[in-house]
C-alpha cells in the first residue's frame, strides 16, 4: 500500500469514527438532555406530563409531609409559583425546609411532580457569627464569596 493510500485509509477511518460519534452526540442531545425549570417556568410553559425535567427551587416552609414507606411530599416554590413534589427514598443530608433543592423527574397527569432524585445544594457558606464579625472587622469578608471554591464541592451538589 502506498503512503497516499495509507493516509487515505486512516483519514477515512477517522471520518467514520467521528461521524458516528457526532451522530451519537446529536441523538443523545435530542433525547437525553433534561431541561431545568423553575415552578414559574412550569406554570408558564405547560410542560407535557411525563416529560423528564429538572425542577429547582426552595422547599416551602411547613410543606414537608412524611408518608408511609419513606414516601415524602413537599412543595417547591420560587416565591411566585409552587409545584407539589412526591418522592420516595432518603432525602439528602442538606434537605431542609427553606433550603434550595433540585429534583429530577416528571409531572404526572395530576400535576404532581414525581421525583426520582432529589439533590440539595450544599451551603458551604455557614459561618459562626463571631468569626464573621472578626472577618468583617478586618476587611476580609466578602459577601459574595464563592462557596464552590472548596475542593470537590460540586461532586454531588
Amino acid at each position: 500500500m502506498t503512503r497516499k493510500q495509507r493516509r487515505l485509509t486512516l483519514i477515512g477511518l477517522a471520518g467514520v469514527v467521528l461521524a458516528t460519534a457526532a451522530g451519537l452526540v446529536l441523538y443523545a442531545l435530542n433525547d437525553q438532555i433534561v431541561f431545568f425549570q423553575s415552578p414559574s417556568d412550569i406554570a408558564e410553559n405547560q410542560i407535557p406530563a411525563g416529560e423528564r425535567i429538572r425542577l429547582g427551587g426552595l422547599v416551602k416552609d411547613g410543606s414537608v409531609v412524611q408518608g408511609d414507606n419513606a414516601q415524602v411530599s413537599f412543595i417547591v416554590t420560587d416565591e411566585v409559583e409552587t409545584v407539589a413534589v412526591s418522592y420516595t427514598g432518603l432525602l439528602p443530608d442538606l434537605f431542609r425546609e427553606g433550603q434550595g433543592i433540585v429534583a429530577e423527574g416528571y409531572i404526572d397527569p395530576n400535576g404532581v411532580f414525581q421525583a426520582d432524585q432529589v439533590l440539595a445544594k450544599h451551603d458551604e457558606n455557614y459561618i459562626p457569627k463571631e468569626v464573621k464579625q472578626a472577618l468583617e472587622d478586618s476587611g476580609h469578608w466578602m459577601e459574595e464569596e464563592q462557596g464552590a471554591a472548596s475542593y470537590g464541592s460540586s461532586k454531588s451538589y
Binding site: 433534561v34 431541561f35 431545568f36 472578626a134 472577618l135 464563592q146 470537590g152
Partner: protein
C-alpha cells in the same frame, strides 16, 4: 515568623520561575551554555522554596494559627489532627499550592534525572516548565494566596466542610494532582521539541516514563475519588459523569492514548507529530480541568461572573497555554521528521485505532461537559447533561476499543497477520463464551444487554491474558518449561496484559453493578428483620454518641446469611458542631467482590428509621481493575529496556530485508 518565611519562600519561588522562564529557553535557542545552566539549579530551588512554603502553611494548620485567613476559613481547633493536616489542601488556596508543589517537584525530578539528555532539550524543557510554574505561582500569590493574615485573629475557625473530613480527601487530591501535573512535564518536553525543531530517539525514550508515572497516578486518583464519592456521599453512586469527574477523566483518556502512541514512537519511531499533539492536548485538558474545578464556573455561571478574578486568571492561563502551544505546534510541527512506516493491519495500526477512539470519546465527554456551560452562558437556558447522555455517547465508542484490545496486543509490529491472530485467539473466545454463560446463570438469568456486556468484559479479561498463555504454551511444553518461559517473558508483555486485564475487570464490575444492583428503601422498627438480596437484615438499636467535632446517631444492623451472622453494620448520621451540617456515614459489608451498603435517614414520627440498603454485586472489581491497570503501568515503568519493536519481516524477507523505505 514561620508563616511569613513561608510566604517569602513562595514569592522567591515566583521570582525564580521568572528567571527560569527566560534564560534556559533563550539559551536553548542560541545554544548558549551559560544561560542554559541556570535551569537545573532554579528548578531545584523552586522545589525547595515551595516545599518550605507548603510546610509553613501546614504548620499554621497544625497549630490552629487563626491569624491566617486560610486557616480560619477551613479549620477548627477541635478538628482531628489528620484533617487539620489534609485540610491544608482541602480548600482552594491550599490545593493550588499543592498543585504548584507537585509541579515544581516534577521540575526538580526532571533536573535530577536528565543529565544524559541533550543540553538544549533539557534546558528548553525546564524553561517550558518554568512558564507553567510561573503562571501558577502568579495565580497563587495574587489571587489565591494562602498566607494572607488577619488582625486581630479570631479565636476559632469555620471548620472544614464535613464532607471533606475524610481520609479520602487526604489521599485523593494529591494522587490526582500528581497525575494532572505530571502531564505538564510531557507538555514541556513537547514544547521543547517544537522549539528546538527536532525529535530524536532520546526524546522518545524520555517521554514515555513521565507519561507512565502521570497516567498511573491519575488512574489511582480517579479511582480513589470514585470510591470516596461512593462511600462518603451516602447514596451508593460511584461515577456521576459530574463535570468535576469529567475534568479528570478527559486527561485520563487522552493520557491513555498518549501512553500508547508513545509506545509506538519509542519502539517504532513513528507517530511522532501525533504524540506531540497528544502531549499538548493532554496537558491542555488538565488545565481545563483545573479551570472547571477552581474557577467556580461549575457552581453557576453567575457566581463566576460575580467574582471573576480567579476564574478569569485560570481562563487566561488556559488560553495562553492552549492557544500558544497549538500555534507553536502548527508552526513547527511540519519541520519535524516523521518516522517509520507501517501497514494498516499491524500493532501500530491497532494503536492508531485505539488513539482514534479514545480521542473521539474524549471529544464526546468534552462536549457533554461544556455544552451546558456554554448554553447557559450564551442563552441563559439551563440544561442538565447527565449520565444518560454520556452512557449513550461514550459507551458505544468504547465497545470497539474493548473488542479490538486482544487483537492489538497480539498483532505484530509493522505488518500484522489478522487471520493468524484470530486463530490464536480462538481459545480465548471459547473461554469467554463459557464464562459469560456461567455468570449469567449464576445471576439467575439476564437481559440481552447485560449478557453482551459480560461477553465483552470477559473477552477483554481472557484476551488480555491470552498472550501470555499463547507464548508460554503450557499444554505443549509441560509445566516446568512453561514456568521458565513465563519468567523469561519480556516485562512489557506483563505490563500490557495487566493493563488490559484491569480494563476488563473494571468493565465487568460496571456491567454487573449496572445490571444487577438492587436498592431497597425500608422504614424499619427496632428489632424488625427484612430480607434484602439473600441476606436477612435486623435493625437492632440506635444510640447517640459524640465524636471529636460532631455528634452522631448510630444505628446498628445485623446482617445474616443462612442464619449465620455475616456482619454487624453501623451506619450513622452526623451533625457537625461548627457548621451544624448533617452528614450521612454509610456502612459497607464486603463479601467476595460484592458489597452491601446501608445508609440511614431520619427517624420518623413513630420512631421507625428510614433505611436505604443497596446490594452491589461485584462492585469492588471496578476499583480492583484500576489497581491492576496501575500495576501494569508500574511494571512498564520499571522496565529499563529501551524497547525496540521488532518488526515482522515481510514474507520475502530474505530478498527484500528492508520493506519500507526510510522515512522521508
Amino acid at each position: 515568623m514561620i508563616i511569613e518565611i513561608g510566604h517569602f519562600a513562595l514569592i522567591l519561588a515566583l521570582i525564580a520561575s521568572v528567571v527560569q522562564s527566560v534564560f534556559p529557553v533563550w539559551g536553548a535557542l542560541k545554544n548558549d551554555q551559560r544561560m542554559m545552566a541556570v535551569a537545573p539549579p532554579l528548578a531545584n530551588a523552586q522545589f525547595v522554596l515551595v516545599l518550605i512554603s507548603f510546610a509553613a502553611l501546614t504548620h499554621a494548620y497544625l497549630t490552629s494559627d487563626f491569624s491566617v485567613l486560610n486557616v480560619i476559613e477551613n479549620s477548627h481547633s477541635d478538628k482531628p489532627l489528620i484533617y487539620k493536616f489534609s485540610g491544608v489542601w482541602g480548600n482552594h488556596e491550599g490545593s493550588i499550592l499543592l498543585w504548584v508543589l507537585i509541579l515544581v517537584l516534577f521540575g526538580a525530578l526532571v533536573a535530577a534525572f536528565s543529565r544524559n539528555l541533550p543540553t538544549q532539550l533539557r534546558a528548553a524543557t525546564l524553561g517550558a516548565q518554568g512558564w507553567v510554574s510561573f503562571a501558577f505561582l502568579i495565580f497563587v500569590v495574587f489571587t489565591s494566596n494562602p498566607f494572607l493574615r488577619v488582625a486581630p485573629a479570631p479565636m476559632e475557625g469555620r471548620d472544614l466542610n464535613p464532607m471533606l473530613q475524610d481520609i479520602g480527601l487526604a489521599i485523593h487530591p494529591p494522587l490526582l494532582y500528581v497525575g494532572y501535573v505530571g502531564f505538564s512535564i510531557v507538555f514541556s518536553f513537547a514544547i521543547a521539541a517544537l522549539l528546538i525543531g527536532r525529535i530524536d530517539a532520546a526524546w522518545a525514550r524520555w517521554v514515555r516514563p513521565w507519561v507512565l508515572v502521570s497516567w498511573i497516578f491519575l488512574t489511582l486518583g480517579i479511582a480513589m475519588g470514585s470510591y470516596w464519592a461512593y462511600y462518603e456521599l451516602g447514596w451508593g453512586g460511584w461515577w456521576f459523569w459530574d463535570p468535576v469527574e469529567n475534568a479528570s477523566f478527559m486527561p485520563w483518556l487522552t493520557g491513555t492514548a498518549l501512553l500508547h502512541s508513545a509506545i509506538v514512537m519509542e519502539k517504532r519511531d513513528a507517530l511522532k507529530v501525533w504524540t506531540i499533539f497528544l502531549a499538548l492536548l493532554t496537558f491542555s485538558l488538565s488545565l481545563l480541568g483545573t479551570f472547571l474545578v477552581r474557577s467556580g464556573v461549575l457552581t453557576s455561571v453567575h457566581a463566576f461572573a460575580v467574582d471573576p478574578a480567579r476564574g478569569l486568571f485560570i481562563l487566561g492561563i488556559l488560553m495562553v497555554f492552549v492557544g500558544g502551544s497549538l500555534t507553536l505546534f502548527a508552526w513547527r510541527a511540519p519541520l519535524l521528521k516523521t518516522g517509520g512506516l507501517f501497514a494498516p493491519v499491524s500493532r501500530e495500526g491497532a494503536l492508531v485505532l485505539n488513539n482514534l477512539f479514545l480521542t473521539t470519546a474524549t471529544a464526546a465527554v468534552f462536549f457533554g461537559t461544556l455544552y451546558p456551560l456554554a448554553l447557559e452562558a450564551f442563552t441563559g437556558e439551563k440544561i442538565s447533561v447527565g449520565p444518560p447522555f454520556f452512557n449513550l455517547t461514550f459507551g458505544p465508542l468504547m465497545i470497539p476499543v474493548l473488542l479490538m484490545m486482544p487483537f492489538g496486543q497480539l498483532l505484530a509490529w509493522k505488518r500484522g497477520d489478522a487471520w493468524g491472530v484470530t486463530q490464536r485467539l480462538t481459545g480465548a473466545f471459547f473461554v469467554t463464551l463459557v464464562a459469560t454463560c456461567l455468570l449469567a446463570w449464576f445471576m439467575g438469568g439476564t437481559g440481552i444487554l447485560a449478557a453482551l456486556g459480560f461477553g465483552v468484559s470477559f473477552w477483554v479479561i481472557f484476551g488480555s491474558v491470552w498472550e501470555i498463555v499463547d507464548r508460554v504454551k503450557p499444554r505443549k511444553v509441560g509445566l516446568k518449561k512453561a514456568w521458565s518461559r513465563f519468567v523469561g517473558l519480556p516485562k512489557t508483555v506483563y505490563a500490557t496484559s495487566l493493563g488490559h486485564l484491569g480494563i476488563g475487570l473494571t468493565a465487568l464490575g460496571i456491567v454487573t453493578v449496572s445490571a444487577f444492583e438492587t436498592e431497597t428503601v425500608l422504614t424499619m422498627q427496632t428489632g424488625q428483620t427484612q430480607q434484602v438480596s439473600g441476606y436477612s437484615m435486623t435493625y437492632d438499636r440506635t444510640w447517640d454518641q459524640r465524636g471529636p467535632n460532631f455528634v452522631e446517631r448510630v444505628a446498628q444492623f445485623t446482617l445474616r446469611q443462612d442464619g449465620n451472622v455475616a456482619a454487624t453494620m453501623m451506619p450513622s448520621k452526623r451533625v457537625y458542631n461548627v457548621s451544624g451540617q448533617p452528614m450521612t456515614e454509610a456502612a459497607l459489608y464486603t463479601s467476595g467482590f460484592s458489597q452491601v451498603y446501608i445508609s440511614i435517614g431520619d427517624n420518623m414520627d413513630d420512631g421507625s428509621l428510614v433505611t436505604r440498603v443497596y446490594y452491589k454485586p461485584l462492585i469492588t472489581l471496578i476499583w480492583i481493575g484500576t489497581l491492576v491497570m496501575s500495576l501494569g503501568g508500574f511494571i512498564a515503568l520499571i522496565d529499563r529496556k529501551l524497547h525496540v519493536g521488532a518488526p515482522q519481516p515481510a514474507r520475502k524477507a530474505v530478498k527484500r530485508p528492508v520493506a519500507a523505505t526510510p522515512a522521508e
